[in-house]
Symmetry: C3
């Protein structure tokens, strides 16, 4: 068994889900392993990762709207607002969704289901550069 | 170090938590490793995985009721309803609970706590066959 | 590649986030690996783990307050109260936050972002001793 590590950077332009399945699959394929375990790790506390439906766009819009209702931009709710009204809701939404993902690799394919995509979930309004660390082990 | 991979299938009959601790422990034991890391990965976006209390059944009923209140079957809340009113709530509940679980293996035992069970969390009303990919590495 | 396993114990005194970044980083450093994957696993269903902001203390207070509103100590909401009114809210809050964390190790450093800390999230009011299993693989 061996391992590969890397850090990928993604630019986000607004709040919401950014699909990164293509970049992640391509990086994994380049490591040339047949079976193993891929781990993605988001190095931020106001962005996160998510496996979600990759077909109907309404699913992503509904999901984003759900998190806006659950942790609203309401200054009366939070003491922390160093970086504006979207600061604390971003931390809460990041706490409720994964900081890391693990996906097994079997027979040279990530075991993503037919309708699963890998997403970076940006919780801040302004554009950001987000770093995702990757670790793949296998053979 | 070596690794083992597999895909297990589970039939679900209704919404809620289905305990799979027995199947998962048995599969792990068959790989004959003493120490390592087990990863379970759910290949769906309307079902998920969860480590939860395995003693009092009321805990599971209360937990299911909580998610029904948090992401209710209310068509006025969602644009997406391709597969019925339980479609979008299922995606939301799956986003709020793990798509994958990792459990260390130490001295031939998964390090599950005394009250922890491994559950498949079905978020759709109709019966489904759900696939869980397994990856175990260790020695 | 090789692996190391251990179980660390942490005392909690009240509900809330307890930072364990120092203990986790020190344990990892002692294993002497340059690259790999660290997994932390919480052996409880009324405590969990979380990567969160390690700078502004208001973030942690706001986060704790959010979970108190989301899963309140309201006996009318739950059937399960074997251990008191904080029992079932603890299980729900544990279900909404990670039971395990994975963090890649690159060039002898955990890939935690500049503002990320590792926290044990105690959901019960009374003091507890909590066990966290650790698994590190790499070389």
């Amino acid at each position: 068994m061996r391992q590969a590590v890397d850090i990928l950077r993604f630019e986000t332009r607004r709040q919401g889900l950014v699909e990164i399945t293509g970049e992640v699959s391509a990086w994994t394929a380049r490591q040339g392993m047949a079976n193993g375990l891929l781990t993605l790790y988001c190095r931020h506390t106001s962005a996160s990762l998510l496996i979600q439906e990759n077909a109907a766009p309404e699913v992503r819009a509904d999901l984003e709207a759900f998190f806006e209702r659950l942790a609203p931009e309401d200054p009366t709710l939070y003491a922390h607002d160093d970086e504006g009204p979207d600061d604390m809701p971003a931390h809460i939404r990041a706490a409720l969704t994964p900081t890391h993902l693990c996906v097994p690799l079997i027979d040279r394919r990530l075991t993503l289901g037919a309708w699963q995509g890998v997403y970076l979930f940006e919780h801040r309004r302004r554009p950001h550069v987000r770093e995702v660390a990757l670790h793949l082990q296998g053979e």
